[in-house]
Symmetry: C2
Subunit: 420 residues, 2 copies
């Protein structure tokens, strides 16, 4: 009960802070961000002392060394956090832009103005740097934020938010613009998800179970990233070298990420020429190949093994690639529609008509021609920073930058017009 009251009070304060933040100048927001970055650097020792508590607790709880490493706020990581905030400060302010302003026959001038969403709730389980990243993006886009981090990083997150608050205060911005749920009580998450009166949007960042819980329990709209089952399709008119390069890069440049290629589709006419070369490279790179019966004929000698039905619906996040031969562009697109996750899919082809059909007809947040699926990313797209990648269709698809944290309201300028 106490937790619910506490989270509700945070919501009220966030709503009030959001109103103030929505009307401050871009300059004031940038001054706050600069001060926030400086606070982290100036108080590095304090932050590392708090971080040490999390690391100690983590060791006692038996966290893996990989998890402990992720938790560890080294000098370099604190500098990177501060640098990330400064980069957000350097981005263009999305708020206040007016678009599509046009006169109507009755003289009314009608268009839309870009404004902050209001209050954003972020539920995450990742590294403490998400705390600083998310706060910076929220402040820059004029939104207040309520942060709920993973319990392993409680001390670190609390310290970061405390320092960011000092930065906000120095620029005369409301400290309540960045609030942190300072408890590991899981009831706090439930309370936040039902706070539709004060919170406009929930962004969960973490594993699939976290995201599914949030979807199931939230009364507030959610922007989420679910699966990343990305496809690379090699068309019959693909450039052979490019097909090999893009497959290797899409799969192996980094394997544990959502925009890595998980399934390779190859047009039957390219199989003989293409697959042995790809098989050799993948084997050299240490990639497991799960093959349809047809492609297995070409890949068995490179270590390929038979795929099961499950493979086509699996996000490996690992050095594993499922490979299937298809008879046509239509079959490739059907496979993507039936097994993909509407994240990122690319076609390799020199044929303009099929490239354009693929771009039009594949219903994914990013559809590419002759580019590695790995490019699906806010920085690569020029957004400057991202709050995550949305696999939803509503509001924002793909990388969520500052614009994704805003909305457009109608504005109408009249001279006394009345409706007849």
């Amino acid at each position: 009960m106490d937790v619910i009251v506490e989270v509700t009070e945070m919501g009220k304060r966030a709503r009030q802070a959001a109103r103030e933040l929505a009307r401050v100048s871009g300059l004031a927001k940038n001054q706050a961000l600069t001060a926030m970055a400086k606070e982290l650097l100036d108080n590095k020792v304090d932050l590392q002392r708090e971080n040490a508590k999390d690391l100690q607790a983590g060791r006692e709880k038996g966290l893996s060394s990989a998890m402990l490493d992720r938790l560890n706020l080294t000098d370099a990581r604190i500098h990177a956090m501060a640098e990330g905030i400064s980069q957000v400060a350097a981005l263009e302010d999305p708020v206040g832009e007016i678009v599509g302003m046009k006169p109507r026959p009755n003289g009314l001038l009608i268009g839309r103005m870009r404004v902050p969403l209001g209050v954003i709730g972020i539920i995450y389980e990742s590294r403490p740097n998400v705390t600083a990243d998310a706060a910076a993006l929220a402040v820059k886009s004029g939104n207040a934020v309520i942060l709920r981090g993973g319990s392993e990083a409680l001390h670190s997150n609390r310290a970061i938010v405390h320092m960011l608050g000092h930065g906000l205060k120095q620029a005369q911005l409301p400290v309540d613009a960045v609030q942190f749920i300072n408890t590991t009580d899981r009831a706090a998450v439930g309370a936040l998800l039902r706070l539709d009166r004060y919170v406009d949007i929930i962004i969960p960042r973490g594993g699939k179970s976290l995201i599914e819980r949030v979807i199931a329990d939230s009364r507030i709209p959610v922007i989420k990233h679910l699966d990343g089952i990305c496809h690379t399709y090699i068309d019959q008119d693909a450039d052979l070298d490019m097909a090999v390069t893009l497959t290797l890069n899409g799969k192996m440049q980094r394997t544990g990420v959502c925009n890595a290629t998980e399934t390779l589709l190859v047009h039957a006419a390219m199989a003989t020429e293409c697959l042995p070369r790809i098989g050799q490279k993948l084997q050299e790179a240490g990639c497991v190949m799960r093959c349809c019966p047809e492609s297995l004929k070409h890949l068995q000698s490179w270590g390929g093994m038979a795929a099961t039905d499950e493979d086509w619906d699996t996000e490996y996040l690992d050095a594993i690639l499922s490979i299937k031969i298809v008879g046509s562009l239509e079959e490739a697109m059907d496979h993507i529609a039936n097994h993909g996750s509407q994240h990122t899919d690319t076609i390799v082809t020199q044929n303009h008509e099929r490239a354009m059909r693929f771009v039009r007809e594949v219903d994914s947040s990013s559809v590419m021609v002759n580019a590695s699926t790995r490019f699906s990313d806010g920085f690569e797209y020029g957004l400057g920073a991202e709050m995550g990648i949305s696999t939803d269709k509503l509001h924002v698809r793909g990388p969520v930058g500052l614009e994704g944290l805003t909305t457009l309201k109608y504005i109408v300028f009249g001279a006394g017009q009345t409706r007849g």
Copy 2:
């Protein structure tokens, strides 16, 4: 159980139809819409025979004469439905537009393409004409639609959808693009709201209890219209005649609608000059005035009565206006933030700075200067038609036209680029 299976099968068919619809030309969609309109006109007699069954059942159930009238498909109403479909055909096709295409330093060309949302579920309780309107907007925007109408109009809605299906078939478009839940079993609504695998968005249209049930039960994102507590604020620099005219028009031009003014805020400096004139006009027009203590002094002689706290949070949908005197623009905006519904609010002023502050700082789907709140409407905004008005912030705010039924996906054109 049978209902769940049935609705799920409808979802699968809708998903398939949506894929087909997403890739057809604007010409084909217009041919379908033209044929759909013609089918309604050509089969008017059949439609009216089915409609007579609903009217008969309604009389037996004791529906009010107002409700029976709304249900009645007269010749004129059938013509208006067909005309509405033709008007949608004449609108520009929103699908396929490419925006913001720009080269990145690595040569990738990155932008966004407008595409249909996919499958829309519409749950409504209003007149049968919503069936034709909603189907036309869905088809034009390339979306498949699953319709669930009110039980009172079951025969009429079924007949309309059947005729629209003939129109789709004539243009070689999939008949499953427009499906109708042909049962009054309420379990069907629950099944639809949990069909997140096949349905991309739910649009409820009807009374508040319907909408609240949909929000509570839906696993699918909802675009909704909740309350319309709209404000007209008369600033100290308002033109007196304009202030009177806009108040009268905002409140009384039509009272039972969401964009009617429900609360009048008046700057103290204007009260003596302004309120007696407004009071006289409102009394003549038969409008009840619920006044704060200060405004009551000016309005008692025109029939004004004391407001209660509840009045400021009430959407009257009737010839009733709550009236409050405020000391400043800030107080007016605070009142709107605390009591409004983020629908439509207007300021009457000749002062540019305060006009622009109002436009920037009031967080409503439509914010106006010197215009009647009654203008908040898809037709008035030049959208050509609307699926309703959204009081949500995500995806679409204000009148929902064809664009609101689409989404933007990223498209990337490369020449073999890989990520390093």
